[in-house]
């Protein structure tokens, strides 16, 4: 064998390896965070989501699939505020991936810049039900908070690949504009409704209610995460009626029998919708989901009138 050609192959290998530099592998705990990562990283990233709109990210299983995906990730982005506390720490531990461990370059807690709602003032314990000590983690329903989450992703991507800083920053700025515009449009849409008081089944809609500047009236669940009793449904249904509540918002995971019972007691309609994306690869998936959600609220309100 002629060993003189070895340096030639070596040079070719290094050159081609540089030309076809690998994308950043980004793994996200939810499809909403994955949508943000894709919008910022575009063709420089390969994004995977561990859950989508069909799953409840509080209660995912630690599967060999999620461990494998995280073990190969350059970046791990998650919602934070203890939303994934039941499963993500185990996935990180089992993955053995040093890049995405606590405070390493690829560790991205998207909640760091989020203006958190319902942050408990004092200590939290289990007698208070399913309360997150860091505050409400369901900020994906506020485009403004999504922009703050995107900022955390931007910083992580820049730290992972500093040479693409301008590319990521430009995409982030476009995304930021898009989200601010979306928020203004949604608010414009709901302005027509005038004063409106809504309640929610579980406090997963708080950010949406705040974004649309609606009046919020407690939640059907007296203790967060605990199914309401018949007595609670009866008393709260009547309370909602006397307080002028006109709509109840709920997610697909809320029990339909409880919502129907609440409706039969209070005569207040409810809408039950997905609050996370199914296909995050679609560029306009988030805008579409938010518009559909707001249209459903407007429709339910018009029917009520």
């Amino acid at each position: 064998m002629n060993f003189k050609i070895l340096p030639f192959f070596l040079v070719c290998f290094i050159t081609f390896n540089g030309l076809f530099a690998k994308d950043i592998k980004v793994v996200c705990s939810t499809s909403d965070i994955a949508w943000l990562a894709k919008k910022i990283g575009k063709d420089k990233v390969t994004v995977t989501a561990l859950s989508d709109g069909n799953d409840d990210p509080h209660y995912l299983d630690v599967t060999p699939k999620s461990i494998k995906l995280v073990s190969e990730a350059d970046v791990l982005c998650f919602v934070g505020l203890e939303l994934e506390i039941g499963w993500l720490p185990k996935v990180i531990q089992k993955s053995g991936n040093p890049k995405i461990k606590l405070n390493q370059t690829g560790y991205c807690d998207c909640s760091v810049y989020v203006q958190v709602l319902e942050k408990p003032n004092g200590p939290v314990d289990r007698s208070m039900g399913h309360v997150h000590s860091g505050g409400n983690p369901h900020y994906q329903l506020d485009p403004q908070q999504m922009a703050f989450a995107a900022k955390a992703i931007l910083e992580t991507l820049i730290n992972t690949k500093p040479e693409e800083k301008d590319y990521f920053t430009k995409n982030f700025e476009l995304l930021n504009e898009e989200l601010i515009k979306l928020k203004a449009n949604l608010q414009e849409k709901t302005k027509k409704l005038g004063e409106m008081k809504v309640t929610q089944y579980h406090k997963e809609m708080s950010y949406l209610i705040a974004t649309l500047e609606l009046n919020s009236f407690e939640a059907v669940e007296k203790v967060p995460g605990v199914s309401p009793s018949a007595e609670r449904l009866f008393s709260f249904g009547n309370e909602c009626k006397t307080n002028g509540v006109t709509l109840c918002l709920a997610t697909k995971h809320s029990p339909i029998n409880k919502l129907k019972k609440f409706n039969s007691i209070s005569q207040i309609p409810f809408i039950q919708e997905r609050v996370s994306l199914i296909n995050f690869q679609n560029e306009d998936a988030y805008e579409k989901m938010m518009n559909e959600l707001v249209d459903k609220i407007i429709q339910a309100q018009s029917e009520k009138k």
Binding site: Y59, D61, T63, P64, S95, P98
Partner: protein, 352 residues
């Protein structure tokens, strides 16, 4: 002071001191309590006791290793024994796709053996499990290595070597075996039918004790889950095990087979119903003339569960079964069990 009491005291001191010293270490701890009321209609007797109180401590040791220590207080025939369940360190960071575990642990074989009893989907294990692996599970001191084959098909191989001085539930130090406990599990995880996933495993275990008696196991385990939010809407779990035991250097041997299949349906407000069918048979029962006799034990269990949150569970199981040999009834099971389990503090999450 007895050894058990000393261990209990050490754990208590550890908990109280750790409350003040665990900050910035990442260590978490929890206490699981499992209380069972059993009414045995056949024996016309009942018993109510805390079946088990388990203390668990876990967290990272350093940037490479994690550790877990758990000790449990068990009720056995009216006497409480405090014993070490698990004490191990593990690492997934040393070699890519490999996980190493060193210390004392429940062997990663089958489904029930690797999950603590208070988290089983039923109160009491199938009869074959009690006979093959004890009331709870087989734990041993040794090393276990798990390797995830790097492909998107999610195949894993787990191999382990235990000291083999004891097997199943034992309070003695045991004796040096001729062949230590060695085991292998080959498993495959897949997604299908819009369920969260399925996991199927093939198991092998072998041990020869100090007197030359060999115990050989082959098993198949399966689980499938479909969740809706916090509710496990559908759960299907199944194990089939075969045990061959050879005594007196192969002069006599027994072959037994055991299995169960469990299905659970969950409603959205914390309630679920389930049913289990168990089967156990000793394939080597003979009469005094050496003629083979038919033997089987068949049992059905109906369950009702209420789980208001993930930290508490109430369960009611009714079991009815019959054991027959050569057409004659040996014993009947007719039992009602009520279980309350709760968790104070934290508990490490389980793998699928």
């Amino acid at each position: 002071m007895k050894k058990g009491q000393l261990l209990f005291l050490i754990c208590f001191l550890f908990i109280s001191s750790s409350v003040f010293s665990q900050e910035n270490t990442g260590m978490k701890f929890g206490i699981n309590v499992d209380q069972v009321f059993t009414s045995d209609f056949e024996k016309d007797d009942y018993i109510y006791s805390p079946r088990e109180v388990e203390l668990t401590f876990y967290g990272p040791v350093n940037h490479l290793f994690d550790a877990l220590v758990s000790a449990a207080c068990h009720e056995e025939r009216g006497v409480f024994n405090f014993e070490l369940h698990e004490a191990w360190i593990s690492s997934s960071s040393l070699v890519k796709n490999f996980e190493f575990k060193l210390g004392q642990f429940f062997l990663n074989i089958g489904r029930l053996n690797k999950v603590h009893r208070h988290e089983w989907p039923f109160i009491t294990g199938p009869r074959y499990h009690q006979k093959f692996f004890g009331d709870e599970a087989v734990s041993d001191s040794g090393i276990e290595v798990a390797y995830q084959i790097p492909s998107n098909l999610h195949f894993s191989i787990t191999a382990g070597l235990g000291s083999g001085r004891t097997f199943g539930h034992s309070h003695s130090a045991g004796e040096k075996p001729d062949l230590p406990t060695n085991y292998l599990r080959f498993s495959h995880f897949f997604e299908a039918f819009n369920w969260n996933g399925f996991d199927i495993g093939l198991n092998y275990l072998n041990r020869i004790n100090g007197e030359g008696d060999q115990t050989l196991f082959f098993g198949l385990d399966f689980i499938g889950k479909k969740k809706n939010g916090s509710t496990t809407q559908h759960l299907i779990q199944n194990e089939i095990w075969f045990r061959q035991s050879s005594y007196n250097a192969g002069d006599s041997d027994t072959r037994e087979i055991g299995s169960y299949i469990y299905y659970q349906y969950g409603f959205t407000n914390g309630w679920s119903i389930g049913s289990r069918l168990d089967y156990y048979s000793d394939l080597t029962v003979e009469d005094i003339f050496g003629n083979k006799l038919e033997h089987y034990d068949i049992r059905g269990v109906l369950s009702l569960t209420y789980q208001p949150t993930e930290f508490m569970r109430f369960k009611l199981d009714y079991s009815y079964g019959i054991e027959k040999q050569d057409g004659k009834e040996l014993q009947q099971t007719n039992m009602l069990e009520f279980q309350v389990t709760f968790l104070l503090g934290a508990h490490p999450s389980h793998e699928f």
